[in-house]
């Protein structure tokens, strides 16, 4: 058991950024195809990060780098806790602390663009956090355990009993991936009213580390999608991975179909989804199990 946990943690630490970077490259290629463009090479995100590490160091305040390092550490730590089969509650709290450090880093620069981006990131957090909690509670109510290793080894797929929560999770993934219509705090697309939002003041290698931790984060968030299908058999693995990839494709598709919405819409819709899909699903679980 311990050996298995160590192997999966090492696999996450080593393969996580490669997988995340490849997914980011596929995202850009797919987006280009959807817009009838040729698009960059699939390895473009790696070139970008390589370039960022070759740029001059520039930082508005030395505290910013400190917070960015903490952001990277906590995001990777939450992924590690998840893949070693740890406690889901601990995982999401670590993830939240990581996200909080990104916001503090953006605030610390005193740049008006970064501060507005940080405020919007806070609003996005408030929007998605209830659904994250409901997801974890749903896993507990169905399987009777918060531990990822026990959920993975369960006899039944959690997907059907948690179907409302699954779609709620897919909804907030748009917020977590910062895709349109909810890319209000920072966007990968060219022009926006906040320059680059929360990441405006991150230069060179600092920005490189932010990108790498986003790759880790994306892989780990898709791991959550996988968790809905894991039931200890090979079929659970295959279906889980296929659905996780389909979910990613769906997010890219949504990204290309929508313009950015205001934060009010992001906030309201995320809470409506959490209440309608999440709470009703929890209620059904409470009655049936």
């Amino acid at each position: 058991m311990i050996i298995k946990a160590i192997i999966s943690v090492v696999a996450f630490l080593v393969l996580g950024p490669f997988l995340g970077g490849l997914l980011a490259g596929l995202d850009r290629k797919l987006s280009a195809k959807m817009q009838r463009r040729v698009g960059p090479p699939v390895l473009q995100p790696f070139y970008d990060v390589g370039k960022l590490f070759q740029k001059e160091k520039q930082t508005p305040t030395r505290f910013q780098d400190f917070y960015v390092i903490l952001f990277v550490v906590f995001i990777i730590a939450s992924g590690v806790l998840f893949f070693m089969g740890g406690d889901l509650l601990l995982v999401i709290f670590t993830l939240t602390i990581g996200a909080a450090f990104l916001i503090i880093a953006a605030y610390s620069s005193n740049s008006p663009y970064a501060e507005l981006g940080a405020e919007r990131e806070l609003l996005a957090m408030m929007a998605y956090e209830p659904m994250v909690l409901i997801t974890v509670i749903g896993f507990y109510m169905y399987g009777g355990s918060f531990r990822v290793s026990e959920i993975m080894a369960a006899d039944n797929m959690a997907f059907l009993p948690l179907i409302g929560i699954f779609f709620g999770w897919v909804f907030i993934l748009t917020l977590k991936f910062r895709k349109s219509p909810f890319d209000l705090s920072m966007s990968h697309h060219a022009h926006q009213e906040l320059v680059r939002g929360a990441t405006t003041e991150f230069v060179g290698r600092t920005m490189g580390w932010i990108e790498i931790s986003h790759w880790y984060e994306n892989v780990f968030l898709l791991g959550f999608v996988f968790l809905f299908f894991a039931n200890g058999t090979a079929w659970g693995w295959i279906i889980g991975i296929v659905v996780a990839l389909l979910t990613y494709f769906f997010e890219v598709f949504i990204d290309n179909c929508f313009a950015r919405m205001k934060w009010q819409f992001a906030f309201k819709s995320a809470w409506v989804v959490a209440v309608v899909l999440g709470m009703i699903n929890l209620f059904v679980l409470y009655i049936c199990f």
Partner: protein
């Protein structure tokens, strides 16, 4: 020599000095499916702190010289400046106006000139891609600079860039300044 990532993902920041918007529209045309500069990893990022290439359109005047300078100074090294359109190259037809200082090179060092009124998207892409040679040279100078004392470094970097440019012909202006003047005169006669 370090791995050549700098040439593989040039991010662009675009500033309109005081052009008629003709060149700006051509710059944006480069992003469309027709030309699709993202093929080369070029992104229009709109943030000088993330940018490697500074595209300036229009001439520089007393009002905006501070802004052009500030954007240039906010960009982290290595960086390249491309003057897009005849106004950005020399001031163009506005050269003799009382408030116009002339081309962008009056305020910041320019690495590649793209003449034309308006500059064609093909020429703009060509200039950015040629600017990558300078970007690599500047990056190599940065790597060498790590061990050497500061003053030597500055001199060496300047020399390095100059010789690289001469040797490889890395960034010949697509036309020389003399040709640009002739072209401009022709344009005016028309």
């Amino acid at each position: 020599m370090s791995a050549a990532y700098v040439t593989k993902s040039p991010w662009v920041v675009h500033y309109d000095g005081s052009s008629c918007n003709g060149c700006d529209i051509e710059v944006l045309a480069c992003l469309t499916p027709m030309y699709d500069v993202e093929r080369f990893g070029i992104i229009n990022c709109g943030n000088p702190k993330h940018a490697d290439v500074f595209l300036v359109t229009g001439s520089v005047n007393e009002q905006n010289k501070g802004i052009v300078k500030q954007i240039y100074e906010q960009m982290p090294e290595p960086k390249v400046v491309v003057a897009v359109g005849i106004c950005a190259c020399s001031g163009g037809i506005f050269k003799d106006c009382y408030n116009v200082m002339g081309g962008v090179d009056q305020v910041i060092p320019v690495d590649a000139y793209v003449p034309g009124c308006a500059a064609r998207p093909e020429a703009i892409i060509d200039a950015v891609v040629k600017g990558l040679g300078v970007l690599q040279a500047k990056r190599d100078a940065m790597v060498k600079a790590v061990d050497a004392p500061a003053e030597e470094v500055a001199e060496a970097a300047a020399e390095e860039v100059a010789t690289e440019e001469k040797k490889a012909g890395a960034v010949p202006p697509i036309f020389t300044m003399a040709e640009i003047k002739v072209n401009t005169m022709d344009f005016l006669k028309k």
